[in-house]
């Protein structure tokens, strides 16, 4: 009996399985809108998958369902074979708007999750300091978020999420509010972090280049209702580094191919408005 329950989980280790997830968005006024329509997707342990699609395609909704922030109406989501029912420290999340506690300093923000996990004080202090150094914010421990730039705020948010060492990292357009240069630097930093502390990552974006640059696979979603249109392998084929990957014809081809897929959906989404 155990085998049947945990069988699927062990196949993917701590991977994620979306099974026929359907979600209806019900605004307080107006008609209900079908946001997700039978989305099925598997993310293997330590795999980096980007969800790519036009705005309003339900990709963030899919991420929030995985986070356990909204009830799953129809279908199943499992992480490591266990069904998602509520938010939990096994799934850390980073939002586009940073979502830092503005009344807490950088250090207090990073400590928050560790306090919730009831870790001993000495361990909390050490871990928080490690994380702050990992995201290159040494010297800003006592600054408040309002005193930091957008890129620095997002590094604090990433440190706060990584502090509790989640198995899975959920990212909701985390670099969407940053300028192009900062975004590029954050991409490099994220990849460096993922090399040091490998995690399963689901990354929501509407930026095609970002998706190809960061992800092992890119799942393209259709505009409303959101379905998986196609899944494209975006890992560099000859094992070259991501930094070099960006200058190869292969990278350009992948970007062009994905852009064509997204383009149709973006046009459809615009026409629907």
């Amino acid at each position: 009996m155990n085998e049947t329950i945990f069988g699927a989980g062990s196949m993917t280790g701590n991977g994620i399985v979306f099974g026929q997830v359907t979600h209806t968005y019900r605004p307080q006024r107006g008609r209900p809108v079908l946001a997700l329509d039978g989305v099925s997707l598997e993310v293997k342990e330590r795999e980096f998958v980007a969800l790519l699609g036009p705005s309003g395609c339900g990709k963030s909704t899919l991420l929030y369902l995985l986070g356990g922030f909204m009830p799953i109406e129809s279908g199943t989501i499992t992480v490591g074979g266990k069904a998602v029912t509520a938010p939990g420290p096994d799934r850390g999340i980073v939002f586009q708007n940073y979502s830092l506690f503005p009344w807490k300093t950088v250090k207090q923000n990073v400590l928050y999750g560790l306090e919730k996990q009831r870790k001993p004080k000495a361990e909390r202090e050490q871990r928080a300091q490690e994380l702050i150094e990992l995201v290159h914010l040494k010297g800003f421990e006592d600054s408040y978020p309002s005193q930091l730039s957008g890129g620095m705020k997002q590094r604090v948010a990433i440190a706060r999420t990584l502090a509790i060492d989640p198995v899975t990292l959920l990212m909701d357009e985390p670099f969407g509010a940053l300028d192009a240069q900062t975004r590029t630097l954050m991409h490099e930093e994220l990849l460096a972090i993922m090399r040091r502390t490998p995690k399963t990552c689901v990354f929501v974006t509407h930026d095609v280049r970002e998706a190809v640059y960061l992800a092992d696979r890119v799942a393209v979603m259709t505009s409303r209702p959101g379905r998986i249109k196609e899944i494209v392998d975006t890992k560099p084929s000859n094992g070259i580094s991501r930094a070099d990957y960006i200058n190869t014809p292969e990278f350009t081809e992948k970007v062009d191919y994905l852009w064509n897929l997204v383009r149709d959906e973006a046009i459809r989404a615009q026409e629907a408005h």
């Binding site: 929030y64 986070g67 356990g68 922030f69 509520a86 938010p87 939990g88 420290p89 799934r91 850390g92 999340i93 939002f95 708007n97 979502s99 506690f101 503005p102 009344w103 807490k104 928050y112 999750g113 919730k116 996990q117 408040y144 978020p145 309002s146 005193q147 948010a157 706060r160 999420t161 509790i164 989640p166």
Partner: protein, 248 residues
């Protein structure tokens, strides 16, 4: 800088001069408005006699418990209403009914129920101050960014931790602004309730002196109450800015 302070308080200085020379030159009847110097002398003797202290302490106790209970109950109720549909459904009609009511109309009712002592005054102040506190706490807690709550949830925060560690501090800027309104209202209702009936308090002192025709002393108490209200607001503003330093 000294120049700046001078110009800022120049209107007050002009008012003080007018207050002094107006009655002396009989522009106004000195028996209705005694000159400022006479008011100052009366103030000094009230202070020395201990009348100002005894009644001041009595007023302070009413004010402190009235406003304090309004803040505690108002913040709790406002935050809980914002976070729980059930509590909102129960409390919301009561709050809405209280909203348009002139708060001084509550004073006779409170006297009827709680007597002439401190209880009715504390209750009047509390009820009058409750509304701005509830509303600010409610709006503040309603406006908390959903992703902030989700972030705390994903870190493993329980419902109770979420309320005290996330919702309350996030709502704090609005709550503190609401409390500032409550402080202003508290002074109005404090004096009004003591004016109406009572044996103690600064409001009582004003009506007692006024009825006795001791107008210089009456004005001395009126000025004292105004000054206390002004400094209470200044002190609160200072405290509020210190507390919200993280906002920049």
């Amino acid at each position: 800088m000294p120049n700046n302070v001078f110009t800022r308080y120049l209107p007050l200085l002009l008012l003080a001069i007018l207050w002094e020379i107006g009655p002396r030159l009989h522009w106004v009847d000195p028996s209705e408005l005694p000159p400022l110097s006479a008011v100052g002398r009366a103030w000094w003797s009230l202070l020395m006699d201990g009348d100002l202290w005894i009644n001041g302490v009595s007023s302070f106790i009413n004010w402190f418990f009235g406003l304090g209970s309004a803040i505690i109950i108002g913040v709790l109720l406002g935050v809980l209403m914002a976070r729980s549909q059930t509590i909102d459904d129960i409390a919301s009609p009561l709050v809405k009914a209280l909203y348009p009511m002139p708060k001084s109309a509550l004073i006779p009712v409170m006297i009827l129920w709680l007597g002439l002592g401190a209880g009715s005054k504390i209750a009047s102040i509390s009820l009058s101050c409750l509304l701005p506190v509830i509303l600010s706490a409610y709006n503040g807690a309603r406006g908390v960014d959903q992703t902030l709550i989700w972030s705390a949830r994903a870190c493993g925060a329980t419902d109770r931790e979420l309320l005290w560690e996330v919702v309350l501090p996030a709502a704090l800027p609005e709550i503190l602004a609401g409390i500032r309104n409550a402080v202003a209202i508290s002074f109005i209702v404090l004096v009004a309730s003591e004016l109406l009936v009572g044996q103690r308090g600064l409001g009582y002192l004003i009506s007692f002196l006024g009825e006795g025709g001791v107008y210089d002393a009456m004005f001395a108490v009126v000025v004292t109450v105004s000054a206390l209200g002004f400094f209470a607001d200044r002190a609160y503003l200072f405290f509020m800015r210190r507390t919200l330093l993280w906002r920049e």
